[in-house]
Amino acid sequence: MKHQTWKALATVIALAGILMLGACHKKAAPPPPPPPPPAAAPTASISVSPDTIAQGQSATLTWQTSNATDVSIDGIGAVQPSGTQQVTPTDSITYHLVAKGSGGNQEASTRLTVTLPLGEVAPPPSSSEEDLFGHNVKDVYFDYDRYDIRSDQQAAIQADMLFLNQHPNINFTVEGHCDSRGSTEYNLALGDQRASAVKSALTTAGISPNRIKTISYGKEKPFCLEESEGCWRQNRRGHFVYQK
């Protein structure tokens, strides 16, 4: 038994030795010549702090680049490779930075949101009634296959009523939309009932029905095109559109 084990061990060692010898005889392939170093590509980053300001306030724009010979920001023009600047836009804006160098171009952008003072009745010269409508009137979202207004949507309805009462000259359309599931015809009828439900909530609260048009788009004009619950939820809504 012991003798056999030793014999086996010896065989294993011998085999391993042969294998190692064989490996030693193999010549390693010469390494390939290193590729020429590429021109370093520029890098770029840009940020704004804070990213949301009220109208009239200012924010600080900060950017950094490397390997760039030519750096510019849309709306500001050519700038130093790195730097900071105070900005005071009247409307929300996206700052778009382009860094050009011998290694290519690099872009970066950041968005600064400018909020309008809430409850302001007289619109500032830069904001039309339509913009105000777009900022203040909130869409109403629905559950699947339902056309009754959810309790968590009452806040949106309240905000809508507040704004619409303050702007009695605005006429508007409520569009009923549905998610992509189910039948075309049934969804058009369902969207019609959603639009009617929103209209009815507003007229009950004293908004004149003469100001409100309704239309159903069913699943014909979705806001979001993916087949997922996140998308479907976005598409089940009463959407407000300003009437010119």
Partner: protein, 458 residues
Amino acid sequence: MNDTHRPVPHFTIGARLLSVLSLLILLGSLFPSTSFAQDWVRTGSGLGLDKVHLAVPDFKPSSSDPQNDALLKAFNDTLWNDLDNSGVVELVSKSFYPLQVPGQPPEVTFGVWNSPPPNAAMLAFGNLGVGAGKLTVQGWLYDVKNTASPEVLGKQYTDVATSDAARLIAHKFADEIIFRLGGGIPGITESKIYFVSDRSGNKEIWVMDYDGSNQRQLTHQGSVSLSPRVSPDGSRLAFSSLTKAGWDILMFSLDLNRLVSFPRFGGTNLSPAWSPDGARLALSSSRGGNSQIYLCDVSGANLHRITSNKGPDVGPVWNRKTGAQIAFVSGDTGLPQVYTIEADGTNQQRMTDQGYAVSPSWSPNGQFLTLAWIRKYGPGEPGSSDIYLMDIASKQWVQLTHDGGHNDYPSWAPDGRHIVFQSSRSGKEEIWMMLADGTKLHQLTFTGRNTQPNWSWK
């Protein structure tokens, strides 16, 4: 010690593999008995009867005109396709045919056709020739088991020498055969299918032959046009379209090839449907609040509501046999279900017991509904929308499609043997056709997204 230690890890991996495998096998044996335990039953008028074995050798050229080959091919392909899709005959494979096929009655050798390998009961044959811009086709149907008096049918057709005319003649000859071998029910090869296509960039109403050929655009509304429904006499098409005022029923004259006037009702007006006498329309309108089923004369006069449900009512369709009942879809109890109601608004009956049931279409004999149904609906039940057939009297149903995709808008052919529907099984919504038992499934449209097919009444 070493000898016993080493195999242990091997053994545990092996055991794990085994247990996983057996679990898979167990699951595999469980699933068929649960999720696939649906009825998959063949139904039809010819059930249990062997279909007639028909041999259709290519027609022979009877002229050497340079046009002859192309027209002969169009004719032969159309005739074979028509008979193959008819559902009334079993075509004998061409590989069993003798090398010499007949083009004229004297050339028929009965013995080689009525015995194996072809073993045909019937033989359709003939010839096609072009001369002086004219196309002439001679065709015969022979009962090859009755050698004493074999001729069932002998026809000669003459038309202009065009590919369309060759196809039309093939349709006419096929319909003659189908009429004789299919229990006296007229064939459908000259019927049309109306449908919605977005291939122009907007959803517009299109029309095609029953076999998918000759697809052409009818409406040019430039908005969204849906739910085409052709009148029983084939002269007009009602559909719903998004106009400046909202969703209106529009009327298109197929004779004049343009819109003709139809009143605007206000509200959202959808899914028009013709009564079988062509005198009335049923439709869904929200003019009085929520969407309900209304009836009106074909002029739009005498509009009146016949349903009063909570949820939206849509998609009415008349009993094609009696004209006395209407099937429709209602969300009265939540998810949409199919109901029937008398045309006078009485006796509303729910037909479907669960799930999401829409798009009923009434069979020409008045006995069946076909509908789109997601029977198992809800979280954790990934039900698919399939086409079902329901016997109205018993409410018993049979599932016709099983092959995946979202299937909707079934519509009966005038022969009651075929159903056209939309399906996303190919990756996008296209129009498909099948026999009413779910067999002979094939795709008719391939360009753009094509939906809501509606088969002409004759």
